[in-house]
Amino acid sequence: MTGLIDPFLKGVGVFFLIYLIGYSAFLFLSVVVGSSELYKLHRQKQLQNILPNDYFVPITIVVPAYNEEMTVVETVKSLLQLDYKLYEIIVVDDGSTDNTASEVITAFSMHPVDRPIRRQISCQPEEFIYETSETKVPLTVIRKKNGGKADALNMGINAANYPYFICMDADSVLQYDSLKNITEPILQKKNVVAVGGLVRLSNDVELENCRVKSYRLPKNIIAAMQVLEYDRSFLASRILFDKFNGSLIISGAFGLFKKDVVIAAGGYDRNTLGEDMELVVKLHEYCRVNNMDYCICYATDAICWTQAPETMRDLKKQRKRWHLGLFQSMHKHRRILFNPRFGLVSFISYFYFLLYELLSPYIEIFGVLTVVLAYLVDLINVPFMILFFLIYAVFGSVLSLTAFFSRIYTSDLKVSFGDAVKACFLCLFEITFLRFILAWVRGMSFVGYRKKKLQWGRIERKKINFK
């Protein structure tokens, strides 16, 4: 038996050595590239490398909402304060069981209209439509039969009057300059079909008129760890993928898309939980198959503030949902893998997401079980293992902190000394504990999969700290 275990463990050792070298190299490269890119952008802003304020790309903001009566009015109010001229807001109530639509209708004294909807993408039928032109920009509320978030977004796209649309969550707040910043790549580069914004966590951040009034790390430890995690993933890997037009994810909380291309590609997939990722992967596939010159970009200075789950229960729900969405998107577009037609999107982006995102929970759980097995058969050097684990934790923490402080510095934000110390400790905690807990949660995400297939993701909502 020992004769079999020994070569097995050696094989596992070699696999993990390659796996971890690959991951560490990627993480290091992405943080270095991300930080230097942020510094470059900061320098550009300092030296007035900005486009004048009077170029406006017309945008429709689609706000899909399901049982959002607590936050939706504040969200619309915040959208009306954006520093941009040419946009409209469409709130799509996806058959809520609460008063989502009526809250908005009452708050803005809206009127019913018989508006014809050009149904270019299939979606559930509308029940009623309200409009008003009394607000700064046109505001529309469409109440439709329940069909899921993707279905609500498709309705918003069908009703959009402008050539570009933004999808966002009903519990998020866009920063005052976010529309101007997210449209800049369209003017900078040829054939931009989608632009991702930067999602930041708003827990304990005070916003006034869509501007940050005071910034601090959330008091809640689970939310605070997610701040570090978001910085690492948003500011590091996404910037790196952006360098070779290889972004596979634009967060559903804030992304801009060219309407005609999205319609031509078929809109949001109503049968996928991760409709945001699926759309981006689909756009890559659509454009490459049709030999279109296209660009999917990332605007690091277009900021959306959103709430992070503050309980482990909500966090687990969210991550399970994300993992299922990732699986569905990757499975649906599996032909991209190792397909030369898709270039670096195939060989780097898709492969990275497959190995280090989709399969990583299983690989990590397998790794822990192997360590236990090796310990039981006394084939492991415990002091070396502990040292190796510590080096891994410190390495990961340093990179997380680099991403965190780069973002703080380049956004002209200030954190207190206490928050800086807190960030250092939480980084270690996140790498050593939270990561493994979430790996387990993600690994178990397929349990009960069929049941939850088309439900809206729900987490505990709080009133947005917005004035």
């Binding site: 490398n49 209209v113 014809p116 032109s133």
Partner: protein
């Protein structure tokens, strides 16, 4: 520091800067040899403090033109903004030709909006000039769309026939002309306009129908004149017109509250 002083006393700062012409020439050379970000900052300064505003300054404009070959969009845009302040149309044309020759990407919206500001499209004094742009079929589409919008804002009877013709364009690839012209016709009331817009309501293109209905509502055409569409067999045309008429009524009601 300069920005702060400019906010306090712009005239004094401008006078101070105008006395430093020689310094700026040497700075132009220094900045143009630096990196992309620094190179873009110099034309910004020229624009912001209007260093070459309404005067000839060949040494600076020459270097600004050479900066157009820089690959960064900000440098090109800041140079164009600086050149607009000169009021020298030859210089602006030379700059656009240079961008064209370089093959570097410069978004059509930046060109058209910049030019519109430059030739002050915000006043009705340029009807004849804008009309020549509209008539020239070899002109950039974006620029011609802007010309149509100009005539939507400023009525010019000389452009009416052209707008009517463009609103009836059948080419599916040129639907934008029909849509924007249908919108512009709201500024040109008359029997012919109404007939054209009613006809355009039956167009296969959504935006043409949408804009035509919008124009008919803006023109305040009474119901009996629209009855043939509202009670007609084309359901798409009737629904669109009904929606626009009701929306217009609501907007007027909201405005009076």
């Amino acid at each position: 520091m300069l920005e702060g002083a400019y906010l306090k006393d712009a005239d004094t700062v401008k006078l101070y800067l105008s006395e430093l012409d020689g310094v700026f020439i040497s700075l132009t050379v220094t900045y143009s040899g630096k990196g992309r970000i620094e190179a873009a900052y110099f034309p910004y300064i020229v624009k912001k403090y209007r260093l070459i505003s309404n005067r000839t300054f060949p040494s600076i404009t020459g270097i600004l033109l050479s900066l157009l070959d820089e690959p960064g969009i900000y440098c090109r845009e800041n140079v164009m903004q600086a050149l607009y302040t000169t009021g020298d149309s030859d210089c602006v044309v030379e700059a656009l030709k240079r961008i064209d020759r370089s093959g570097l990407f410069y978004h059509g919206k930046l060109i058209t909006d910049g030019l519109l500001n430059f030739i002050r499209f915000s006043s009705p004094d340029y009807c004849e000039y804008v009309f020549t742009i509209l008539q020239n079929e070899n002109e950039d589409d974006e620029l011609r769309y802007s010309a149509i919008r100009y005539f939507a804002k400023y009525r010019y009877d000389g452009a009416y026939e052209t707008l009517c013709r463009l609103s009836s364009v059948k080419d599916v690839d040129k639907w934008q002309y029909a849509a924007i012209s249908s919108s512009a016709l709201a500024t040109y009331p008359g029997e012919k306009t109404v007939e054209l817009l009613k006809h355009n309501l039956t167009c296969g293109n959504w935006y043409v129908r949408y804009n035509s209905a919008d124009s008919l509502e803006k023109l305040g055409i009474p119901y009996p004149e629209l009855a043939d569409v509202l009670d007609g067999e084309d359901r798409f045309a009737a629904e669109m017109l009904q929606y626009k008429l009701k929306k217009g009524k609501l907007e007027r009601k909201e405005a009076t509250v």
